[in-house]
Every structure is written in structure tokens, then in C-alpha cells.
């Protein structure tokens, strides 16, 4: 069975097989709506909105879910050395405004915003579920992992309902429950970074893992012929220019895969590969602007990789 829902400004597709499928699809959709309302962090009324308004001023009590997601985000920021950072809010705001105007943010404002990005300034008190941002002007943006988080939670609902073969595709963030109904793994295509939407260059197998891709081809705008994509390097304030076109990360949880894909994209091939190796439990496929494809050795013989350019296993 399948179910498609328009949510989070994208299309969320679910598949589930077996007796529990129908109930699971409906319950997972309800869970998505609940989380989206709860985590609506662009609204000043939400927990994160309140936290941002109170930055540098006071701590805010968060709901259990928001506190959990923020804690997860800070942990991931630490694990990536800040290459993924949920305090990127001030930069995201500047670029979002620029994108809607077709302009570029003033460099001085970018520099000021970049100095506000530091996940270590997120104060978390687990006992009281209280959080705070140390400096005025700092702001949390969970856009980098929210879709993955929602996909994870939907997959959890499938599992709890007894589904053993299910798939959630939240606008390209894929979470799987078991494998295909025929017993094989789910076959996840990886979007070709320079071809039309829906055209893939590789197919990776997934049974219970999540597959998330970050690329420079989504959500970009052009100013005087130059493309500015949405993956911002907090070090510079500008879209990451690390020589990569796309990064796919496979992990147990889609939120983790989401954060690591962003981080590797920002870090570039060398430091990115080193990060994937260091974490150990991740698999990845990196596409460099040169066309070279870097693939986790553990995927050798399991993934089908089309010809973009040279293929190297790490």
C-alpha cells in the first residue's frame, strides 16, 4: 500500500506491506502532522521561536520532543566539528531573504551573522528541559535535520504497528523499515546532481537504514550568472565551495544521515571521507565537481554506480 501527503513544502510518500499496512500509514501520517505543528520553528509561537527570541537573555522551557531534537542536533554538531551546526539560523535568514529578492546578502552582515554561529553556545539542562542561547542574535534553525527526524519518527510508527516492510520518502530523505516484501533490500536511487529530477546515477540497497542526499542542485538562486546554493559554510557565511556536487549518507537514522550529509558537503572530499571513516557506522557516496565518485568500500558489489567519472572506493 502507498500513501502520499503534501507536507513540509514537499511530497511525503509512504509504502508499507502486510496486514498492519493500512493502519500504519494512517498513524504515521498523523504523527507527521503532529510533529510539524509541534516543531514549526519558523513561527515565533513555537518552542524554537521562543528560544530564538530569548537568545542572550533568558532560558526557555521546551517540550520533550523539541528538547530531544535540539539535543540530538547539538550532539551531531559536536560529532561533525561544527560542519553541521543548528545555530546557523542568522545565516539562513540572510540567504533566504536574498533568495526571495534575487540578490546577495551584504558581506558585512554575513560576517556578523557567521560570528553568531556556534553550537557550543546552546545551553541544555536535561533535568529541567530548559534551553538557552548564550548571545543575543543567535538563532536555531533545525531545517537541516527536521525532515530526516520526521521520517525517522514515521518509520518508528510503522515498526510499532508491526510493519516489517516499509519505506518513508520525505521529499528525498528516505527511511526504510526492513526490506522489500520479496525479501530483498529496498533499492534507493541517488539523484544525479546535474540531471533532471528523478534521474539517478546510482542505486544503493537499504534494509532498515536511512539514505539522505545533500546537493548543490537544490534550492539555489543565481545572481549575475553565479549560482548560490543553500548549503552554507558557517566559517565563511557563503554557500560551501568544497568541490563537491552531492553527498549521500546512509545511517541507522535519517536525522543523522541528514546532518552528516550536510557536514561532508561543507567539509569537502578529504575531510569528509575522514569524518565518515571516523564515525564508522556510516556509508557514503560523494560526487566531486570533477565527476569523480567516492564510495564507501562496504558498498562495493552492493551498490550500482553509473558512470559520471572516475570511481574510487574508500
Amino acid at each position: 500500500m502507498e500513501k502520499h501527503t503534501f507536507c513540509m513544502d514537499t511530497l511525503v510518500a509512504q509504502m508499507a506491506h502486510g496486514d498492519a499496512a493500512s493502519a500504519a500509514l494512517t498513524a504515521a501520517e498523523a504523527e507527521m502532522f503532529r510533529l510539524v505543528r509541534l516543531l514549526n520553528f519558523y513561527s515565533d509561537d513555537s518552542d524554537i521561536g521562543q528560544l530564538n527570541l530569548a537568545a542572550g537573555n533568558r532560558d526557555v522551557t521546551l517540550g520533550a520532543e523539541t528538547f530531544g531534537l535540539l539535543t540530538q542536533a547539538k550532539t551531531l554538531a559536536g560529532a561533525t566539528g561544527g560542519a553541521f551546526d543548528p545555530t546557523v539560523g542568522p545565516l539562513v535568514r540572510l540567504w533566504r531573504t536574498a533568495r526571495s529578492n534575487g540578490s546577495l546578502p551584504p558581506p558585512a552582515e554575513l560576517a556578523r551573522a557567521a560570528r553568531l554561529v556556534d553550537y557550543r553556545d546552546i545551553g541544555l539542562d536535561a533535568a529541567r528541559q530548559v534551553a538557552g542561547l548564550r548571545r543575543p542574535g543567535q538563532a536555531i534553525d533545525l531545517g537541516g535535520i527536521a525532515k530526516g527526524y520526521v521520517a525517522d519518527r514515521m518509520a518508528d510508527v510503522h515498526r510499532a504497528a508491526g510493519v516489517t516492510s516499509g519505506l518513508i520518502n520525505a521529499g528525498g530523505d528516505v527511511a526504510t523499515v526492513g526490506g522489500r516484501p520479496d525479501g530483498g533490500p529496498w533499492r534507493i536511487g541517488l539523484q544525479h546532481p546535474r540531471k533532471a529530477r528523478g534521474q539517478w546515477f546510482a542505486v544503493v540497497p537499504a534494509s532498515g537504514q536511512a539514505v539522505v542526499t545533500s546537493g548543490d542542485y537544490e534550492r539555489f538562486h543565481e545572481v549575475q550568472g553565479v549560482r548560490y546554493h543553500h548549503l552554507v559554510d558557517a566559517q565563511t557565511g557563503y554557500p560551501a565551495a568544497s568541490g563537491l556536487m552531492s553527498v549521500t549518507v546512509m545511517a541507522e537514522r535519517a536525522a543523522d544521515a541528514d546532518a552528516f550529509a550536510t557536514a561532508v558537503f561543507v567539509l569537502g572530499a578529504d575531510a569528509g571521507v575522514e569524518l565518515i571513516r571516523r564515525i564508522g557506522s556510516l556509508e557514503a557516496v560523494l560526487v566531486a565537481k570533477s565527476g569523480t565518485v567516492l564510495i564507501s568500500r562496504s558498498l562495493k558489489g552492493r551498490a550500482r554506480i553509473g558512470r559520471i567519472g572516475r570511481q574510487l572506493y574508500f
Binding site: 502507498e2 502520499h4 503534501f6 514537499t10 521529499g171 528525498g172 536511487g189 529530477r197
Partner: protein, 129 residues
């Protein structure tokens, strides 16, 4: 009747519902819109602008805004109570999903916005005509 045309009719259906309760533009404009769309299955005569109304699908009721620019639907934005898709929206999604290849179960990194889907639908419709 081709599947594409059926989908197009369902889009028109949305517009018709929107027309009934439109808040942003005058009654005459809406009526003209509906008549021409129903008659010709063509957006050529639709004025640019945002058409706001209540979109009622099954047990969900959403306020949506349909953006028309240069005689094309460039977006459908849910502006209130973003909830599920059944009915007309479901048909649109089904049609788009059906275009995916059977060789894969999902595509990672094909992040589609509602705009992109509408573009895809428009292309599909042009091919179907």
C-alpha cells in the same frame, strides 16, 4: 479520457472550489476563470494573480493559495492548517508518482517542492494533449 486530462480536470476542480469562496479577487474575475477553464481546459485566459480559497478534501479542510503567472499555475500553497491530501491532491500525486521508474523504490536527494510538482504535472499535461 486520458489520465493526464483527468488530472487536469481535478486541478480545475480545485480552482472551482476555490472560486466559490475566493477572498482575494472579485466575483467576476473568478467566474470568468472558472468558465474559461471548464470550457477550454486551458489556462490561457486566466489573469495573473493569487487565488485564495478553502480547499475541502474529505475530512480535511485547508486554506490554499493558487498562484497563476504567465497563464501557468506556478504554485499551490497551503496557507492554513497544513494537513493531508486526499481527493484531488491525491490524484495529482498519484499521477506524478506513477511517472517514476519501477527500477528503484525511491530516489534520495530528489527534494521536490510543491512548485516542482506542479511544473511536472504541467509538463505531463502538455505531453498528454
Amino acid at each position: 479520457m486520458s489520465r493526464g486530462f483527468t488530472v487536469f480536470l481535478s486541478i480545475i476542480g480545485v480552482i472551482v472550489v476555490l472560486g466559490g469562496v475566493a477572498t482575494l479577487i472579485g466575483y467576476a474575475g473568478i467566474r470568468k476563470t472558472v468558465q474559461l477553464k471548464m470550457g477550454d481546459a486551458d489556462l490561457a485566459a486566466i489573469a495573473d494573480g493569487a487565488y485564495v480559497g478553502t480547499y475541502d478534501c474529505g475530512r480535511f479542510s485547508n486554506s490554499v493559495e493558487v498562484q497563476v503567472a504567465d497563464h501557468k499555475i506556478v504554485g499551490v500553497k497551503v496557507i492554513k492548517d497544513q494537513k493531508g491530501s486526499t481527493g484531488a491532491f491525491q490524484k495529482i500525486f498519484d499521477a506524478v508518482i506513477a511517472k517514476q521508474s519501477p527500477a528503484v523504490d525511491a530516489i534520495s536527494g530528489a527534494t521536490a517542492t510543491s512548485k516542482a510538482y506542479l511544473k511536472a504535472i504541467e509538463n505531463a499535461l502538455q505531453g498528454a494533449r
